[in-house]
């Protein structure tokens, strides 16, 4: 067992330092790069917090949809092939809901400020 602080706490501490102490001191193209770097750290923090639970529910939905077992990668490959062949489409019970939930879970990590995502969250809630 690794000791404390957690990875999340460490990354957050670095991101907060860069945001509040370094950002005001940097100008020009490096300021843009710094912002991208902070965004990357924030993304990692979100993924550490959210991905395990999202992956577990995604796998459960995929197993149900496909009636098969496998890793998340194998299941996504299988679903992709079935969509490509037309064996599975939007009339297949559960597909639309699965794609939506999986995509919303990805956006929650990747780009929670993306306007389409925020709109869909509001409309759901």
């Amino acid at each position: 067992m690794q000791d404390e602080p957690t990875t999340t706490e460490l990354i957050k501490a670095v991101a907060d330092f860069l945001r509040s102490e370094i950002t005001p001191a940097i100008k020009g193209h490096n300021a843009f790069k710094l912002r991208v770097g902070i965004n990357a750290l924030d993304l990692v923090t979100r993924q550490l917090a959210l991905a395990d639970a999202a992956d577990a529910t995604e796998a459960a939905r995929l197993k149900q949809l496909l009636g098969a077992d496998g890793t998340l990668m194998e299941l996504n490959r299988a679903l992709s092939e079935k969509i490509a062949s037309g064996e599975v489409d939007l009339n297949t019970p559960g597909l639309r809901e699965h794609l939506w939930q999986t995509t919303m879970d990805k956006l929650a990590v990747d780009q929670p400020n993306y306007a389409s995502y925020k709109r869909e969250l509001e409309q759901k809630g």
């Binding site: 193209h29 843009f32 990357a40 490509a84 939007l90 794609l99 990747d110 869909e120």
Partner: protein, 328 residues
């Protein structure tokens, strides 16, 4: 160092020029180098832009029109009275600057967030969609016999290109598969009219002033094809920068875009435009994945490129909003 070479070069085409000043590389162009500088002249300095191929770093193979073709297209657009910079000089080997051209610098803004939010552009925003409809109609109407050699593209070929590129990443994306399937099922077939297509008609490649559109830039992806492709591409949600209820670049309506297009004597086809909007959304998603691949393979091992890989999911939610809206 580039100022010495540019200084010699400008003297050859701008009589009386004594050199250049203020040369600076502009960020933003990913696959070609763009420099801004001023030509020094006793009668007053003249703003100019150098666009050239950086050594060993080109566009997607087979897709780029080539810098010579870009210069020709830009000059043709300028001559036709379209908002386009005047081409001042096409580089020759003697210039020692590589391949490319020098054009007049058009002042204005290309950054979408400023165009969509700054007070300076408030009066221009409601006019832009219609203006751009007229401009793109003018581009589609450029005289065929004067155009340079360009690749030809159809919806069918574009679908297969996208499918091949996506499959080369070897990373399953059920939403992209759904989009590919939809595109194949809704392929409208060959366009009744094949014209010059700009190929990248969107924010970033448009110089906007308080008075509206001042220049169309970046002809790198120009080709012959379905003119509705350009109208669909500018409606892709990725270019709305948060203003998702204004489909044209986050500033206007499809109706205004189409009205401007019709005013210039051309006929918009809303169904084909929608098809190309779906294609464009997938295309941007595939491009995001491609940039991630290039980050991994080098030579550009930058955070920016890596993070663009995490924007592919933005196109997935937009594809679902287009093809599988919820509550239906």
């Amino acid at each position: 160092m580039i100022e010495a070479e540019l200084g010699r070069c400008v003297a050859s085409f701008h009589p009386g020029a004594t050199g250049v000043t203020g040369a600076a590389k502009l960020s933003g162009g990913a696959s070609q180098e763009t420099w801004t500088f001023d030509i020094v002249h006793p009668n007053g300095n003249v703003g100019a832009i150098l666009r050239r191929a950086p050594p060993g770093y080109g566009a997607a193979p087979g897709r780029a029109a080539g810098l010579d073709a870009e210069a020709t297209l830009m000059q043709l657009a300028h001559d036709a009275g379209l908002p386009s910079p005047k081409v001042m000089h096409v580089l020759t080997p003697d210039d020692g600057l590589g391949r490319g051209f020098i054009m007049a610098r058009v002042e204005g803004e290309t950054i979408a967030r400023k165009i969509l939010r700054d007070e300076e552009f408030a009066a221009a925003r409601p006019l832009l969609a219609r203006q751009l409809g007229r401009v793109i109609a003018g581009i589609h109407g450029l005289p065929r016999e004067k155009l340079p050699q360009l690749r030809s593209m159809s919806a069918t070929r574009e679908i297969e290109d996208l499918a091949r590129e996506y499959h080369s990443f070897n990373w399953p994306r059920p939403v992209f598969e759904l989009a590919l399937r939809w595109l194949r099922d809704h392929d409208p077939g060959p366009s009744s009219e094949v014209t010059l297509v700009h190929g990248d008609f969107r924010h970033g490649n448009l110089i906007i002033g308080p008075d509206g559109v001042r220049a169309v830039l970046d002809w790198e992806l120009a080709h012959f094809g379905d003119p509705m492709e350009d109208l669909g591409w500018i409606c892709v949600n990725s270019w709305r920068f948060g203003e998702i209820d204004k489909p044209v670049g986050g500033f206007g309506t499809r109706e205004d875009l189409f009205a401007g297009y019709a005013e210039a004597g051309r006929k918009p086809d809303a169904d084909r435009v929608m098809f190309w909007e779906v294609m464009g959304t997938l295309r941007w998603g595939v491009m995001c994945c491609g940039m991630m691949q290039r980050f991994r393979a080098g030579p550009d091992h930058s955070m920016e490129r890596a993070m663009i890989g995490r924007r592919a999911s933005e196109t997935e939610i937009d594809l679902l909003r287009l093809l599988a809206p919820r509550g239906k």
